[in-house]
Amino acid sequence: MMTDKKPILRVKNITKSFGDVTILNSVSIELAKGDIKILIGPSGGGKSTFLQCINCLVMPDSGEIELDNERIQFTRKQDIYRLRQEVGMIFQDFNLFDHLTALGNITVPLRKVKKMSKKEAEQRARLELEQVGLSDKESLYPAQLSGGQKQRVAIARALAMDPKILLLDEPTSALDPTLIGEVINVIKGLAVKGMTMIMATHQISLIHNLADEILFMEDGRIVEQGPPDALLAAGNKSKSQGFCDLLNELSEVEG
């Protein structure tokens, strides 16, 4: 399926336990440029933990991560900072910096990490805010923004760092149903531009329209994976199919 493209990120056999509970059991994923992989599965299955292992926000107990064919040494801070600069992350509850404006949320990391001048950083931040349709909100603080606007600022903040890969952990699930659309549109826009992504989501429209591959996670393992046409084909008895049917029913109840 991706023999023609070589992977930019290789994550192999990640294992993670908290205490004596194994949360991730030898989970692997490979990503070529432009790939969009979507993680689905029941709550507690380990999706968030896995995503956070990929940029070492949670340190894996064992396993390997290779970025552009370079192995990340988990014990080397330099390696980890580099990995995090190349791999952006979007969180369910946005995690904007409360004391900074929308603009400041984007410029502070640019200045601290990329060592940009104030002027350069502001130019870049304005560009990114424009991309997510928030040019007129640059001087507002997080508490003055709606959930959808906060998530779009968070996306702009991550993109300003020029990541090669974006990890998204349920980017729409903390949002009011009326605000989900604006964030979905931004994410679809990223897909059109060829952004490489791994996303945990239960948003049917994202799963159907964006996924190159669906990975179904349960009890810390990937128990099923494949392209959506195959897994979600009518009459297929896959777990993914059953799960998406369930999501569909739920969204109908809501809608």
């Binding site: 946005f94 003055q144 760092m161």
Partner: protein, 226 residues
């Protein structure tokens, strides 16, 4: 009564001079305490077990030993033992600074722990180092959150500074006692001293409240700590 009033009026400039010294002690102590408190709170939250244990011992010492004991201990004991020749003013400032530092460490620690965890995670995810995240994300927020508690500390330290007279620093209390012992106008003089302390407390607390409003994050208080 005539006499009492004229003694107060005559000695007022002398007493007010003492308030400069008092203010000096308090300002120096509060900033020393801020410096100590910030580093200690970061160590208490993010440090390893050894760092946390050492800092906890420090907090317990300065919480558990009365300020007067510390003043004598430092002025007559520790500093001369170390061959240091610190003035009474410097000694009081250092002792009060180290004491309020222990309390401020706990204030800041509480503020750090009350911050939503996700912000630190987001900073890390953007490639910021722990130190960068602490400096640009954690500290600016906890300093804001801590202003009310800080203003409490200010009034405590201001009042504790009156203990400086026991080692002879010529601040408000020492000067009042000096005049009172000569004129026997205890009542009116100590009322005057009390009023000066009260005004200094009031000015400081009002100033800090203004600062709190000035650095308030727009929209934050209405929407709570999301």
């Amino acid at each position: 009564m005539q006499n009492a009033l004229s003694v107060v009026v005559d000695s007022l400039p002398y007493l007010l001079q003492g308030s400069f010294l008092t203010a000096g002690i308090v300002v120096f102590a509060m900033f020393l305490g801020l410096f100590i408190g910030i580093f200690m709170s970061v160590g208490l939250v993010y440090g390893n077990r050894y760092i946390r244990n050492i800092l906890t011992v420090y907090v317990w010492i300065f919480r558990g030993v009365p300020v007067v004991v510390l003043l004598f201990l430092f002025y007559f004991g520790l500093f001369s033992f170390l061959g240091l020749n610190f003035s009474a003013f410097a000694t009081v400032s250092i002792v009060l600074g180290m004491t309020t530092g222990a309390y401020q460490a706990n204030i800041f620690k509480g503020a750090i722990l009350s911050l939503p965890q996700g912000q630190f995670k987001a900073a890390s995810a953007l490639g910021m180092s722990d130190i960068q995240a602490i400096k640009s994300i954690v500290l600016p927020q906890i300093l804001r959150l801590s202003i009310p508690a800080w203003s409490n500390e200010y009034s405590i330290i201001l009042k504790d500074s009156a203990l400086a007279f026991v080692i002879g620093a010529p601040e408000i209390m020492a000067r009042t006692q000096f005049v009172a012992s000569r004129t026997y106008q205890h009542l009116s003089l100590y009322i005057t001293a009390g009023i000066i302390y009260f005004l200094l407390t009031w000015a400081g607390v009002i100033g800090l409240r203004k600062l709190e409003q000035y650095v308030r994050i727009p929209g934050y208080s209405q929407h709570g700590n999301q």
